[in-house]
């Protein structure tokens, strides 16, 4: 049995390495995440440069430009020179100090105590006895003391001799019975070696008069620091939901939803009232009441910036920047309650916040308030023009008069930005069961939408390549039908000059499927995140003649299986933009569940009734819009919107 005992680190040989390894374990992941964060940020900035809008809004100064800049710079500062950065600096300085110390103290380094006969003999561990023997002979010929030439110095001689002894030992360890047994048992051919267990702390630190430091350190870290940090972390985890909103806020939303009177109309103001009761605001500004927050948000969406002083404006921007997250939490809860009214109103409220527009006040002209320089009071209300598409049908001077902007440069900028405004058009929509030509009973189906993004300035009948619309079913697409959706480029950031957070990643459309039977959500709404905006760069000629218009695809996985009985089931599909007004789709859709035995190929639905305004849809009966087009020919779409006004 080997002799084992504990040795303190008297010469300060080990503990620097101990400290070093601990520091490195902390530093490397931290450093990696910091760098990754940094590069992700710059990557995003690069993509934004390629963006179709190219920061056109730089010329346009909002009335609250100063405060927005302040908010932005505050947010940026915290990104590059965050606390993480300082922690990293301190850690790196510590590491270099420890390395310096270790280098200066350790003179000779360590002599390795390990003994590996295979390594000494320079053979592989799987060598046979014959190989060992032949190799040993070769080596002993080389290193035998008698074979050493006389010219070599004393020191070299000694070294060679010791090498020869080692080789002998190694050979014996592999061939001789006793030495081999010794080697296998104790790891050394001479028998048990002295084993020391080093403690990476100097003796004076453990047993000397400074031992109280160590005791204090242990007590502080295990009795105080560890439980406190764990409880802090756990409380933090417990007080925020997965969606990132405070649990009290979520509880408030749940209570509002449960006590909501379904007969009453949910308004944007109702949603804003619920939002302003959030715990998040109270934590930030404990002295303000929920009513106060409500008025601040109201001032923001009404653009009443002149009446607020600069300090309150900063507060308003801070609050407003948090609203989209809260609305998202509300959408999730309301969607679980299957309440279509509240979900769609919440999305509507999100638009108001992003664009700083209040549709209740703006009297149908809110689409134009998304453009720069446009002011509600200046718009000529005699001209009945409520959408951007209609606006681009007007003559130049009419446009100028309508918006009441005479400065040519400003007007040009408005036109440029207006042209890049994404208008969404539906090309086709159908329910699809992977691998089937029809919708079969009790199967997992998804909704396939073919969408065209176009500029409001592009008009006329366009011809689409019929073949490009048909998805071929390959083994790959059967495996993952959603691959085609995620392969599309991500939706570029929103043009929102008033919203304090630039380059928001959380944009796009919410797609929800509603049962016509009870006007409730049949599924959780899904967000469209990937869609190409390439078509916006084409001028009208290219748009009409170019066969290469990009048609986007979106698929919504249905959670429940299709109905088990054969028949027709009526739904309403609703695409609502999170950021832009005048950018929604609302159309009826029919699910025809058929018996797989009768192999009739029938397209499920097609509808070309497109509505820009959700207001109108709520007036119209959804049933009347339904068109049963058995032989749907979706090659030409009418993009003229003469039906408006």
């Amino acid at each position: 049995m080997g002799d084992s005992r504990y040795a303190y680190d008297e010469n300060a040989q080990v503990w620097p390495y101990f400290v070093l390894s601990i520091l490195i374990v902390i530093t490397i992941p931290l450093f990696y995440s910091y760098i990754a964060n940094f590069f992700a940020g710059s990557q995003r900035a690069k993509e934004d440069d390629k963006d179709y809008i190219k920061k056109k809004f730089d010329n346009y100064k909002t009335p609250i430009d100063k405060n927005l800049k302040k908010f932005e710079s505050g947010a940026k500062k915290s990104k590059v020179f965050s606390r993480k950065f300082f922690v990293l600096c301190v850690l790196i300085v510590l590491i270099s100090a420890v390395v310096q110390y270790a280098v200066s103290t350790s003179g000779g380094g360590f002599s390795s105590g390990g003994f590996d006969p295979f390594e000494i003999l320079d053979i592989s561990s799987s060598a046979t006895e014959k190989e060992i023997k032949s190799h040993y002979r070769k080596l002993s010929l080389k290193f035998h003391p008698d074979k050493i030439s006389r010219d070599t110095s004393e020191a070299d001689k000694k070294e060679l001799e010791s090498r020869f002894v080692l080789i002998n030992k190694a050979y014996k360890a592999l061939t001789d019975e006793v030495t081999r047994a010794n080697y296998e048992k104790y790891g050394h051919p001479d028998g048990p070696q002295q084993v020391t267990h080093g403690i990476a702390l100097p003796k004076w630190f453990v047993e000397g008069q400074y031992s109280w430091i160590l005791t204090l350190f242990y007590a502080a870290s295990f009795v105080l620091l560890l439980p406190i940090s764990v409880s802090l972390w756990w409380n933090n985890v417990k007080s925020y939901t997965k969606a990132g909103i405070h649990v009290d806020t979520a509880a408030n939303f749940v209570s509002k939803l449960m006590n909501n009177n379904p007969a009453e109309v949910v308004k944007i103001n109702t949603i804003l009232k619920w939002i302003s009761e959030s715990k998040e605001f109270q934590l930030l500004y404990p002295n303000d009441s929920a009513e106060n927050f409500y008025f601040l948000i109201q001032d923001y969406i009404n653009r009443n910036f002149l009446e607020i002083n600069s300090k309150d404006l900063d507060k308003t921007l801070r609050i407003v920047s948090m609203v989209p997250i809260l609305i998202d939490g509300l959408i999730e809860i309301a969607a679980t309650f299957r309440s279509n009214d509240i979900v769609s109103k919440a999305i509507e409220t999100n638009k108001c916040i992003i664009q700083a527009v209040n549709p209740t006040v703006s009297k149908k002209y809110h689409h134009f308030l998304q453009l720069p320089y446009v002011e509600l009071d200046k718009i000529d209300k005699k001209i009945e023009c409520y959408t951007l598409e209609k606006f681009f049908n007007l003559a130049d001077f009419e446009q100028k008069n309508f918006l009441n902007i005479q400065d040519d440069n400003k007007f040009q900028e408005i036109i440029e930005i207006g042209k890049k405004f994404p208008i969404i058009k539906l090309i086709s929509a159908e329910f699809k069961v992977p691998g089937e030509k029809i919708v079969t009973p009790s199967s997992h189906a998804h909704l396939v939408l073919k969408i065209l993004i176009k500029s409001p300035a592009q008009k006329g009948q366009i011809i689409l390549n019929k073949e490009s619309l048909i998805e071929e079913e390959t083994l790959e697409s059967l495996k993952n039908p959603f691959k085609i959706v995620s392969e599309q480029p991500p939706i570029p950031p929103t043009n929102a000059p008033f919203f304090p957070i630039k380059n928001r990643q959380h944009n796009g459309w919410y797609c929800s499927l509603i049962l016509q039977r009870d006007n409730k959500l049949s599924d959780l709404p899904a967000r469209i995140t990937n869609l190409s905006f390439q078509n916006l760069n084409k001028d009208n000629k290219q748009f009409l003649n170019d066969g290469n218009l990009i048609v986007g695809t979106f698929k919504l996985q249905l959670q429940a299986t299709t109905p088990p009985t054969i028949g027709e089931y009526h739904f309403r599909c609703n695409l609502k933009s999170l950021d832009y007004f005048g950018n929604d789709l609302d159309f009826p859709i029919k699910m025809k569940v058929e018996d797989p035995a009768t192999l009739e190929t029938q397209k499920t639905i097609f509808s070309d009734d497109e509505d820009e305004d959700e207001e109108e849809n709520e007036d119209d009966s959804d049933f009347e819009q339904e068109q049963d087009t058995e032989e749907s020919d979706f090659t030409d779409i009418n993009t003229d919107t003469e039906d408006e006004g």
Partner: protein
């Protein structure tokens, strides 16, 4: 005897010596020159008693503290529903002096019962939603627990109402709940009917066209007057 004694002592001595030697050899090989004597530390009988009493006192105080905190938390949890006004009204009427007419008391109890039914329907309807929300992590523990408490409280409320109904009139209990349910349905219908007028106004203002229509009306009136 003597011989045996001496033999015994001798053997004992030998044994101890040999034991010591082997002990030293095996465990203190490197420090064999150090003479080690077993050390005895005197401990008072109170030491373990104090130790255990302190330990138990800490555990007991922790449990008391923990329970009290939990109880306080329970009393502080907010109900998902707003204040139950019909219940308050009934209790106030019952305790008021002079005693109100029995019919008034009965009507108040029916109101209370219908409110309980309304809550029951709401709870039943949302139970699935709350569970899925909790599983998804979209709501916190507190909200989920308060929903459970509301559920239990409503059950208790039904029991309480049944007892009250029995005390007012024996055998009324069975008919009573049927009446309450009908009242609940009727009220729900009424709410939907009554809200229709407001709905129109609300939607008009929401779409930002309320002003237009009012202006049109005024214009029409003016034109009418002119004609």
């Amino acid at each position: 005897m003597d011989k045996e004694d001496s033999f015994n002592s001798e053997s004992e001595f030998d044994y101890e010596k040999s034991y010591d030697e082997t002990f030293n050899q095996t465990f203190f090989n490197s420090t064999s020159d150090e003479q080690t004597k077993p050390q005895f530390i005197r401990i008072s009988i109170y030491t373990p008693i104090i130790y255990f009493s302190v330990l138990i006192a800490i555990l007991i105080s922790f449990s008391i503290f923990y329970r009290r905190r939990k109880f306080n938390k329970l009393t502080r949890t907010k109900s998902i529903f707003p204040e139950n006004l019909s219940k308050e009204l009934y209790i106030q009427l019952k305790n008021s002096q002079p005693k109100p007419n029995e019919k008034v008391l009965k009507a108040a109890l029916i109101r209370r019962g219908s409110e309980a039914f309304k809550r029951m329907f709401k709870i039943k309807e949302s139970e699935v939603y709350i569970n899925t929300l909790y599983q998804k992590g979209a709501i916190g523990d507190e909200c989920f627990e308060s929903f459970g408490i509301d559920q239990k409280l409503n059950e208790l409320e039904f029991k309480e109402i049944a007892i009250e109904a029995e005390t007012i009139k024996k055998g009324w209990g069975q008919v009573f709940f049927q009446v309450c349910q009908e009242v609940t349905f009727n009220e729900a219908l009424r709410r939907r009917l009554n809200v229709l007028d407001n709905r129109k106004e609300d939607l008009l203002t929401e779409w930002g066209i309320a002003g237009d229509i009012a202006e049109e009306k005024i214009l029409k009136q003016k034109n009418g007057k002119k004609q």
